[in-house]
Amino acid sequence: MKGPILSAKGLVRRYGDRVAVAGFDLTVHRGEAVGLLGPNGAGKTTTLSMLAGLVQPDEGEVLIDGLAFVGEDDPRKQRVGLVPQDLALYGEISAAENLAFFGSLQGLSGSLLKHRCSEALDMVGLTSRSGDRVKTFSGGMKRRLNLAAALVHDPDLLLLDEPTVGVDPQSRNAIFDNIEALRRAGKTLIYTTHYMEEVERLCDRVVIMDHGKVIADDTLAGLSQRAVTAGRMAMELADVRDGAWLQTLQSVSGVVTAALVDNTLSLEVLEVDRGAAAVLACLRDHGVRVTAFSTHQPRLEDVFLQLTGRSLRDG
């Protein structure tokens, strides 16, 4: 089929007076992997809910293969798989029973359902635990099953809402490997995360959201070529003294974060050149001597910082 698999136009969603999503546009083509980045409360989950047809937008429309969903039981919903941010699994029954249930809701039955369930379990490496009750699983295993439950009906478009959040590094790698395999298998992915390195590794395109709006939508290369002036610096201090100056430093304009660990001062600033000058002046005023100074190569995280004036993780 030609044309975009997904196209969202002017999506708006309000909760009372609060505008969760304030005009969201996105076009995604088959096989693309799009990273959706934004601090907490930016409107990512609400956006995915609208894309998956869970939530009706107050304004705008979502088209899957050029057509909008009609009714709650539109069969085109089967083209989409949603991995919810919060685990949505039944702990009292087995992994296989969970998958069979979610598969049936997608209209699967009989041998096809069985086949798809074992495929999905295999994909996330839980075949050996398929008969065990889910409440006996570790957090990482539940996350993997949460992913598998969105795969049983073999959707073309996968919406992943922070699929690796709160997981130990080993499980995170396992899940990430699964998602890369899906990507290679030709699935279209929209991937929401806090982890910049995941987006850098997985996605060819990045959408940055803040306050319910898209503030950047570009390829990774395109974003890197932007004149990034924001950045991170580190300074080695000869003498920390009483450390009281740290608060003054945090309130200097242009400084986003300042943290002191032993003799190392780490900083995020909106503009590296002006920021450095202001920081050094402040330190001199307080009689703190600097023995070494370094700036980091600008990365995606710095783009984010520049665009939003906020650090990604502390949203």
Binding site: Q78, P84, E92
Partner: protein
């Protein structure tokens, strides 16, 4: 086809989760059976076997008597209670009797005072000499007290008449009567001569009797005062074998109560699932909310049906409860009750907001419905106004329908009314749930 697959999957999941929940199973089977057995034995037991420990049960009620007089009359009263199969009498002294009642070992004690026999006859004419019988009773056993006090009157009259009314006493009465006749207002009626003649003749008759003999009929000790009527009590049920069965009622009542409580619990589980975002995946599937609600109604209804059937099966096997009426009507009643319970639980969840708030309000509302509906105590003992109020509760129709098909032994026509009412309630609750139940978290 797809809708059917979804429906089956949703119902299967609920049943599967229900079977995995041991607490829910206990709530729906063990607890109602236990409580219904207890309540059934309190309220009359089963008609055929006779409840143990109940009022008027086959074993007889244990009471204590103290005879401080030892006269023929007092011994007659004790004997009258001993000969009554409703009582088992323990004869002891006053101090021991007090202790037994105080400690709750016996519900009632009767103390016949000294000179009881001697003063019994004069007491009829002279209030100052009237002997006083003390009745000690356990305050928590007022039903037993009423029964003993009620039967005390005929038994005392019987004993006094049989043991204290000698020819001498009779002639003494007549002498007093004759004296009064000469002075009293009776003269003016013009009848005094005829009355004097009657008294004189009676006195002559009494004089022929051996002194100290008894004025008994047929020469036995059991003289009885004839009453102007006699009673014949008969419990009214349709079939000859049917009798009021406390178990039939208590199993219906408790079954319904615990079904409602369990279903409320499960509806609150839905609210908790909603808060936890469990429905997001359901809503992402091509699933209609209506299908989902219908599935919930079906699985709740099925669970209710199985629980009620289990309760009644137990009552039938263990307590001899019989479906005296129509089996088809009984089965239809169980289904209607289950459908009503399922939709009622969903409605409460639909109106309620948070899980905790819904639990509090829901339990209060259900207990009210269950109580007013006559699930605890049969509605026929309620005051008039409460009986009318109870008619607008679905629980009243549920209990009435099941009662009609069990111990009342009525035909299936008698189930039509209750079933119609239950179906109407089901439709109403179903509509409210359909209009009001949100499955969005947003």
């Amino acid at each position: 086809m797809k809708t059917l697959t979804q429906l089956v999957a949703l119902v299967r999941l609920d049943l599967r989760l229900f079977l995995a929940d041991r607490r829910a199973l206990i709530m729906l089977f063990v607890v109602p059976i236990g409580i219904a057995s207890f309540m059934g034995s309190l309220f009359g037991g089963s008609g055929t076997k006779g409840g143990k420990g109940g009022i008027g049960g086959g074993g007889g009620m244990d009471i204590v008597m103290v005879d401080e007089d030892g006269s023929a009359v007092s011994r007659g009263v004790v004997a009258a209670f001993q000969n009554d199969a409703q009582f088992k009498v323990l004869l002891t002294n006053a101090a021991a009797a007090r202790d037994l009642v105080l400690n709750g070992k016996r519900p009632v004690a009767l103390v016949l005072p000294k000179r009881f026999g001697a003063d019994a006859i004069p007491g009829w004419f002279d209030a100052k000499r009237r002997p006083e019988i003390t009745v000690w009773h356990d305050p928590s056993r007022s039903m037993e007290r009423s029964l003993v006090e009620g039967l005390l009157v005929p038994k005392v009259v019987q004993a006094v008449a049989g043991n204290a009314l000698t020819p001498e006493v009779g002639r003494d009465f007549i002498r007093k009567g004759l004296t009064n006749l000469d002075r009293g207002p009776g003269r003016m009626l013009g009848q005094s001569e005829r009355f004097r003649e009657w008294l004189q003749r009676s006195d002559d008759y009494l004089a022929t009797l051996p002194s100290g003999g008894r004025l008994t009929t047929g020469g036995t000790n059991t003289f009885s005062i004839p009453l102007p009527f006699s009673t014949k009590s008969q419990a009214l049920t349709r079939t000859a074998t049917a009798e009021y069965n406390g178990y039939a009622h208590s199993f219906a009542g408790m079954g319904i109560q615990f079904v409602l409580m369990s279903l409320l619990d499960m509806s609150i589980g839905l609210l908790r699932d909603r808060e936890a975002g469990m429905f997001r995946r359901l809503r992402a599937a091509p699933l209609r909310r209506g299908t989902w609600l219908l599935a919930k109604t079906l699985s709740f209804g099925l669970i209710s049906l199985v629980s009620l059937t289990g309760c009644f099966a137990f009552a039938i096997v263990v307590f001899g409860v019989r479906i005296e009426g129509s089996w088809a009507g009984f089965a239809a009643c169980l289904m209607a009750v289950s459908a009503m319970s399922a939709t009622l639980a969903l409605t409460i969840a639909a109106i309620g907001g948070t899980p905790a708030g819904t639990r509090g309000v829901g339990i209060a509302a259900l207990l009210m419905l269950v109580m007013v509906g006559g699930a605890w105590v049969p509605a026929f003992v309620f005051p008039k106004w409460l009986q009318s109020v109870s008619r607008v509760t679905p629980t009243r129709w549920a209990v009435d329908g099941l009662d009609a098909m069990t111990w009342r032994g009525l035909g299936w026509e008698a189930a039509v009314g209750p079933i119609g009412a239950l179906v109407a309630f089901t439709a109403l609750f179903g509509l409210i749930a359909w209009l009001r139940f949100r499955w969005e978290t947003e």
